[in-house]
Symmetry: C2
Subunit: 236 residues, 2 copies
């Protein structure tokens, strides 16, 4: 029986065997929610880069937009921030574009996961779609929570628990992190937005007036895309 | 208002500011439960050492017993294992002794926490006693979960949540790890032993026939001692 495990922080990733797993990277607030939205809006690809400098090198390139944030705020010279709702507002602009993206936590986590068999982009927005793909693949699964600067956070842990809950009948839930995340999700799933309102990152982001964004990111199954990483870019 | 934070794995300890905190180290199954038991049995002191070799250097020393385990099993030349119930059986032998102790996770976590203002030894067995001491001190609190080889585990997370629950009215619960641990504890506190039966480490230890020990370690407030670290030893 294949296993599903949860890594609650990128700083713990060295404890897991990526080589034999499919990894789902999640940064619910908001990098992977934004990526799923971008895939839905038919961007050509999303190139995750780890530093602002790398991203700035792409500003002004043909058919390319640069997006992202540091500490929750859009970087000044970037074309767009890290907001699913904002990306939706600009859907016509985004269609067919190469998006170069860097965020405080999410894009780094993606780049750390590249030793895996496959790297999927997961968020509540595409929860069931990702889980169906994982079932189809049938390989060991690791959910990698991007966290906040290596600290464990609630929204990513809840998403990891949601994946464990969806896979529980066909996979072995392995390790206490997965067991605890699943238990938390099952307790909070009836109202994820309320659960997240008590969390630290909610308070951090709420200062930036993005409560609508957060509310959107906590919705399950708004999308059926399953973005994955291939040859330097996230595609569908 | 002082804060209470939770570090779910020693591998994340560098994210926290030890210098301004009192740290409660916990390794519920079973190092800190055994230490609390030892303090209750009036051992003179417990010297936590990180390696088996260091511990072996003390075998045969006057008025000294060497105790501990690796991977859940007593090391062959040690006088005692890492079991609260076994220590209780040998209470007459232990009284007044210097105990030299090494375990897979707990003693290492203690030695990692030494930069803190005070390092307390916490377990369910002395939960309320430790929390009363923390309230009396009034300083920021960090609960350091020893985990299992740097992996997050359920029993230590539940204990951390219990501390957060006890301190919630007088301290700010800071960070999602503390919020999640508290939520888990509140869901499971009516029957901690059942909660732990689903956990990975329970299954690991149960192979060694220590279910009675585990049941004992999940009992709250069997003891009122508050062991702490001072000048190389754990004392009361």
């Amino acid at each position: 029986m294949a296993t599903v495990e949860v890594c609650l922080s990128p700083a713990l990733l060295n404890l897991y065997d990526l080589g034999h797993s499919n990894v789902v990277v999640t940064d619910v607030l908001r990098a992977t929610s934004t990526m799923v939205t971008g895939a839905d809006l038919l961007v050509k690809e999303i190139i995750p880069v780890s530093s602002v400098d790398e991203a700035l090198d792409h500003v002004g390139s043909a058919n390319t937009l640069v997006a992202g944030e540091r500490n929750g705020v859009k970087v000044e010279r970037f074309d767009l921030g890290n907001s699913p709702l904002l990306w939706k507002e600009h859907s016509e602009l985004l269609k067919g574009k190469t998006m170069v993206m860097t965020t405080t936590n999410g894009t780094k986590a993606i780049n750390m996961a590249l030793g895996a068999d496959k790297v999927y982009i997961g968020a509540f927005l595409n929860l069931d779609a990702v889980c169906e793909q994982l079932k189809k693949d049938g390989k060991n699964v690791l959910v990698l929570c991007a966290g906040w600067k290596n600290r464990v956070n609630m929204e990513d842990s809840l998403f990891a628990g949601a994946v464990a809950q969806r896979l529980a009948t066909e996979f072995e839930i392995y390790g206490d992190a997965a067991i605890m995340a699943k238990q938390l999700y099952e307790a909070d799933r009836h109202d994820l937005f309320s659960a997240i309102k008590g969390a630290t990152h909610f308070k951090r982001l709420a200062h930036h007036g993005v409560e609508d964004d957060i509310r959107h990111c906590m919705k399950e199954n708004e999308s059926s895309v399953v973005p994955f990483y291939k040859d330097g870019a996230i595609v569908v």
